[in-house]
């Protein structure tokens, strides 16, 4: 099996999507980011130049270019680069794309995919560090996936492009260089299926995106202290795989919710609510939340570090959940 970094894997997923479906089309540029991995995009451009358009800086209308085209039967992949640029298209995501199917009583579908790079990234400051997926998840009608690694990124992009619904794929800007074995052939990972990324018996860390990577790192550290951590990657917040999450917490009896969206109305809070409702009796201790505190992201490195969820905060949360 070849090794791919996340940028290469997501491009591979796109290439398979375009090969398999003549209706798939791409709007955007810099699909593999602007960092050292950006060359991954070359393969896509070489094979499908005629099916890619590079739009002006017009995020709101570009969203509707995708949604409107999707409503005619195309399957556009709309790339925004930095996630916050899509704030310009708030109405277009929430009010238009998400409502199309419902308010037409199923007559019209909008199989569009939006692609964003989110997260606290080192120097992004208040306006370039946003992680909007919790805000998107606060609305019905959107599928929202947050891959934590290359293999998932490829399979989830394929599933997003094949889905009949508007789907938002949110990648952490700092994970693009992450490398692992990725199957060369075409495959999909169904939307709404969580995966247990590490088996453990003492505490369940329920996480997504970069927090999964951090949780796996924290688990190694905690193993040395005799704490056996289970890491569950939810992979999508909508749909949410309640069964896998609940089964894990029932097994360990302890829960840490780790995610980079804000504490208030964020993904971690939703996960704790879900477990409290469905597995209350299995909990041996209060759930612990690791999330972005309610402050904008400061530019200065030590300040940014202070607000970033990460390995040591997740490890501390696990200790706390285990009464250490």
């Amino acid at each position: 099996m070849p090794q791919m970094n996340l940028a290469e894997a997501l491009i591979d997923g796109l290439i398979w999507s375009l090969r398999k479906d003549p209706k798939a089309t791409i709007i955007g540029r810099g699909m593999a980011g602007h960092g050292p991995e950006h060359h991954a995009e070359d393969r896509l451009k070489a094979e499908f130049a005629a099916r890619i358009v590079d739009p002006p800086t017009s995020e709101a209308a570009v969203a509707q270019l995708g949604v409107g085209a999707a409503m005619t039967g195309m399957r556009p992949f709309v790339h925004y680069g930095t996630a916050v640029f899509a704030y310009e298209a708030w109405n277009q995501f929430i009010n238009e794309a998400a409502n199309v199917h419902y308010m037409s009583n199923g007559q019209i579908k909008a199989p569009v995919t939006f692609h964003l790079f989110h997260g606290i990234r080192g120097g992004g400051g208040p306006q370039h560090s946003g992680s909007p997926y919790a805000m998107y998840a606060n609305n019905p009608g959107l599928e929202i996936v947050m891959p934590s690694g290359p293999r998932d990124a490829k399979g989830l992009i394929r599933a997003a492009m094949a889905s009949d619904n508007p789907t938002i794929v949110v990648q952490h800007a700092l994970l693009l260089g992450l490398t692992e074995d990725v199957p060369e052939e075409d495959y999909m990972i169904p939307l709404g299926k969580a995966e247990v990324k590490r088996q453990g018996k003492d505490v369940s860390v329920i996480a997504c995106s970069r927090s999964v990577v951090d949780a796996l790192e924290a688990a190694k550290e905690l193993a040395k202290e005799g704490i056996d951590v289970e890491v569950v990657d939810i992979r999508s917040i909508a749909p949410l795989d309640v069964d896998t999450i609940v089964a894990s917490v029932r097994k360990t009896g302890r829960m840490v919710a780790a995610d980079e969206t804000y504490e208030i109305c964020g993904v971690a809070s939703e996960l704790i609510a879900t477990v409290s409702i469905h597995a209350w009796s299995a909990l041996k201790a209060a759930p612990v939340r690791v999330a972005r505190p309610m402050t904008p992201v400061p530019f200065s490195p030590p300040l940014e570090k202070a607000i970033t969820p990460g390995v040591s905060k997740i490890a501390d949360a696990c200790r706390k959940a285990c009464g250490r």
Partner: protein
């Protein structure tokens, strides 16, 4: 030429030099402190930025885009505190919370840097509305690039300024040139067709010509002050080869005023930019050839400005990082 003109020309030139030497120091700081990341430098736009700053009255307001450093310095912010902000230090203009992309200084009317394309144009329109409501005689300035005209909000802001008759001067730095990767993609034949369609008085100026830009912005600001209505100025600019650099470098070298006269010493890939475009060298030549100033006078001024930036940078590098707890303060007023 009158003595008054000479004085204002030299004042403009000093601002241009400050802007240039500031940016060159930013490149050095970025080379030394990699964490400060990507910088959008204003090199090559100094004639425009200094002209805008000179047209501002003390209570006027300005909003800028990511290509902001020049405006911050030209409008009079302390360069040491500006460097400190770019380095994320405690003494920074924004206490380290904003960094390069959000520099501001309320004391000079430099209200905000928005790093979102389309941010500054609508904010400045709002500033004009606020100033008008308060009966102030002041006006606001919107600095933005041609890329802002790609955004729908640009059309909306221009329209609002026109229908509400708001005292805002739209400063469009058009550095999008055929042959390079353009920073905008506009169907309009001329960029100024857009304000024109919205009944906004508009003009065009060579944004690298210090005299022309200064005269143009003085007139345009006067128009806005007397009519209370918006004016749109398109400044044609040629992109500096380092304007999108990912790693900090000096593609056109460190500015050397002597090169204005010793052109045979200029070589390399970007020789043409230095020889015939660089607005600083261009102004230097005009000064000396017209007898406005001698080479020695200009060199002495440059040495003073260079020293000022060295001291300012040393101040910034000596400034400590803020305490981590500062991350949580100031979320609310």
């Amino acid at each position: 030429m009158t003595g008054a003109t000479r004085e204002v020309q030299l004042a403009q030139f000093e601002r241009m030099l400050r802007m240039r030497r500031f940016e060159e120091m930013v490149i050095r700081l970025a080379q030394k402190h990699e964490y400060i990341g990507r910088q959008h430098l204003h090199i090559g736009h100094e004639a425009t930025g200094s002209a805008v700053a000179l047209a501002m009255q003390p209570s006027d307001k300005i909003h800028t885009t990511h290509r902001n450093h020049g405006y911050v310095i030209a409008t009079g912010a302390d360069p040491g505190r500006a460097f400190a902000e770019i380095l994320g230090r405690r003494d920074g203009l924004n206490g380290g919370k904003g960094g390069s992309w959000h520099l501001c200084d309320a004391s000079t009317g430099m209200q905000s840097t928005s790093a979102m394309v389309g941010g500054s144009i609508a904010l400045a329109t709002g500033a004009a509305y606020g100033l008008k409501l308060q009966g102030a005689k002041s006006i606001s300035f919107a600095h933005f690039g041609d890329g802002t005209l790609d955004e729908g909000v640009c059309y909306e802001a221009l329209n609002l300024a026109s229908v509400f008759e708001l005292p805002v001067l739209f400063v469009c730095e058009n550095n999008s040139k055929a042959g390079q990767r353009p920073s905008s993609m506009l169907a309009a034949a001329k960029l100024r067709d857009i304000p024109q369609a919205l009944q906004i008085e508009n003009m065009i100026v060579d944004g690298a010509d210090a005299d022309a830009a200064r005269v143009m912005f003085a007139q345009a600001a006067e128009r806005v002050r007397t009519t209370g209505k918006p004016v749109f100025v398109e400044c044609t600019l040629e992109r500096w080869p380092g304007s999108h650099q990912v790693t900090a470098a000096f593609p056109t070298g460190v500015t050397d005023l002597a090169l204005a006269f010793e052109q045979e010493r200029i070589s390399g890939k970007h020789a043409e930019w230095i020889k015939s475009y660089d607005p600083i060298l261009r102004a230097t030549r005009v000064f000396v050839e017209s007898g406005t100033a001698t080479r020695d006078e200009l060199a002495a001024l440059d040495a003073r400005v260079t020293k000022l930036m060295e001291d300012a940078s040393a101040f910034a590098e000596a400034s400590p990082f803020p305490e981590p707890a500062a991350a949580f303060t100031g979320v609310f007023a």
